[in-house]
Amino acid sequence: MRRFLFHILLTLMLLLTGISGPVASHAQVGARATIDSTEMLVGGKRTVRLRVDFAPGVLILEPGIIAIDTSGTLELLRTSAWDTTRVSDKAITLEKDLLLTAWDSGYYAISPIMVPYEIQGRTDTIYTNAIPLRVNMVPQDSTVLMPLKPIIEEPIRMEDFIPYLLGLFATLAILTALWWLWRRKNRPVAVVKAPPVVIPPHTLALKKFEPLKQAQLWQKGQFKEFHTQLTYILREYLESRYGILALESTSSEIATQLKSLVPEDLLQETTRLLNTSDMVKFAKATPPVEVHEQLLEQAKKFIHSTASAEATQTIQ
């Protein structure tokens, strides 16, 4: 039905154009509007070309366009300047393009456009023909369920992270503050330790000989125990004094290590002491009573003789 009405409207317009055309040409000015297509989709664009033919001496003015159609639905996007397309002695042709669009479907009539002109000091107007235009909706197939369009991802911007970063910094600041407060609260009280008392090896050894003597182990028949303790104190002293592994060495190994450290006579005496003690410790030897005391004195003598220079002063 709508299509039928559109055709009737189109016929009427063509008839009107046919009537008014000769009048305009009679007045030595003719105006005509054409469109590149009488159909378009919603949001599409169409160009209406306005053509004015006139004789020399006529001054064409800018067309007065208030509304491009009666409903005001059509939107005039752009208007080009007059373009002279033909010049001769008898006639001049100007052309102007009007770019249109529409945002609603329907049948529209582009209204006749008024073109003012001046001839011999007199102002007159001429109208173009009206143009029908059908604006269609975008064709849709309702029988098919179209898939959902994917979500359009927004571009990632630094500004989006600012709240999270602020939150993170705030959390770190709070944790740091809490840790600092906890540490401050639990800070150990600085205890000034007295420097360790360093007892020289000879002092320590001589000190240990006293209880050994007082224990009177050999008088009680505990020869093995006496000699074990005697040699242990002596070997402990050697380890501290010379830095040799005396506790982990055998008597002969100790003698070898002492060779370059003590005088020959002292070395021989000490070797004899260690060997005698070995005999008591490992071979059940029972030397005469005076030998035990002699060996103890010999051990003391060795320590006095081998104590370092500053240590000797302390002994005196």
Binding site: L247, F282, A283
Partner: protein, 331 residues
């Protein structure tokens, strides 16, 4: 000094061990250097132990045991271990005698006093097992009969440390059966010079005279057992062995990741026995810590398992033993 028991024992040991010096002099006529190996052979002989010898070829391994066998008038046999060797090739087998229509026993080379099992790791496991079983049991069963091996019986097995391809390395449990694992090295310059001179001279190496009878060796064995070992020495031995099992208890925490398994109780037994034999060789009737330390490497080196970490760091059993000896206090 009065130590009646020990003094008497000392005297007895001094007399019983008199042959040692003569034996050393006699072997020195043939073997230049290698005193360490000869001493260890004697220790094995005196303690009924067997010896695993590791050393490069040409270091007088065969000559040493052959000479020792001659010196004590003992029977010697050498078995070259090869991949195709069979247990019967060692212990013997039953041979059918068609004339008598019966099986007769043919004894293998193991029926000797001194056996040199050369390159023991070249034979498959079943052959190694046959030898090790005979070593342990000191008897061999052929068919239905069991034959005791003659005393003294000493096996000296050698391993070539360089050519490992196509060999069957002895499992740890098997090496533990050897009392000592002795490593021998090259002779010194002077020794090498003497070896060259002797070999170039017209006279070949001197022939060794038998200087001791087998029964004297058996008597010496009982003397070795009598050598006095104080409880402090026993404790020292236990400490050394335990330090390889629980290093952290001896302040050797750094050894813990390096030791896969420590020395077995056989190590303690053999260390004590070998220390007694060492004292005997020194002609002493009692053991001193020196004896334990002298023999410790040879008794322990094949009884400590290393971890991959130790192997990666090129740490050997020798390093572990050195560290233990330098940490455990001597009594």
């Amino acid at each position: 000094m009065q130590s009646i028991d020990i003094e008497a024992l000392n005297q007895q040991i001094y007399l019983d061990s008199a042959f040692v010096e003569k034996l050393n002099q006699e072997t020195a006529q043939v073997i230049v250097g290698q005193k360490h190996m000869i001493d260890r052979l004697l220790i094995g002989l005196l303690t009924k132990g067997h010896i695993l010898l590791e050393g490069l070829p040409g270091l007088a391994k065969t000559l040493a045991i052959k000479t020792l066998a001659q010196a004590i008038n003992a029977q010697f046999s050498r078995i070259q271990f090869t991949p195709d060797l069979l247990p019967a090739d060692i212990i013997g087998t039953m041979i059918y005698n068609p004339n008598a229509h019966e099986f007769a026993v043919r004894k293998g080379p193991i029926f000797a006093n001194f056996i040199l099992a050369d390159e023991i790791n070249r034979a498959p496991a079943k052959v190694q097992s046959a030898l090790l079983e005979a070593m342990q049991e000191r008897q061999v069963t052929i068919g239905l009969e069991t034959y005791p091996l003659q005393e003294p019986f000493l096996v000296l097995a050698t391993q070539n440390p360089i050519e490992q391809e196509g060999t069957y390395p002895l499992p740890e449990a098997q090496t533990d059966r050897f009392m000592l694992k002795v490593k021998i090295g090259y002779p010194t310059k002077d020794e090498e010079r003497e070896i060259v001179r002797r070999n170039l001279s017209d006279d070949s190496f001197g022939k060794v005279k038998p200087i001791i009878e087998q029964k004297e060796i058996l008597q010496a064995r009982s003397s070795v057992r009598k050598v006095y070992m104080d409880e402090k020495i026993e404790q020292y031995i236990i400490d050394i062995v335990f330090a390889t099992r629980n290093p952290q208890e001896y302040g050797l925490r750094d050894l813990e990741p390096l030791i896969n398994y420590g020395a077995s109780p056989r190590a303690s037994i053999n260390l004590a026995l070998a220390a007694k034999a060492e004292a005997f060789l020194q002609r002493r009737g009692f053991v001193i810590p020196e004896d334990v330390r002298n023999i410790c490497h040879d008794v322990m080196r094949h009884r400590i398992g290393l971890t991959y970490e130790a192997e990666a760091e090129n740490i050997t059993q020798e390093d572990i033993i050195d560290k233990v000896l330098n940490t455990v206090e001597v009594p």
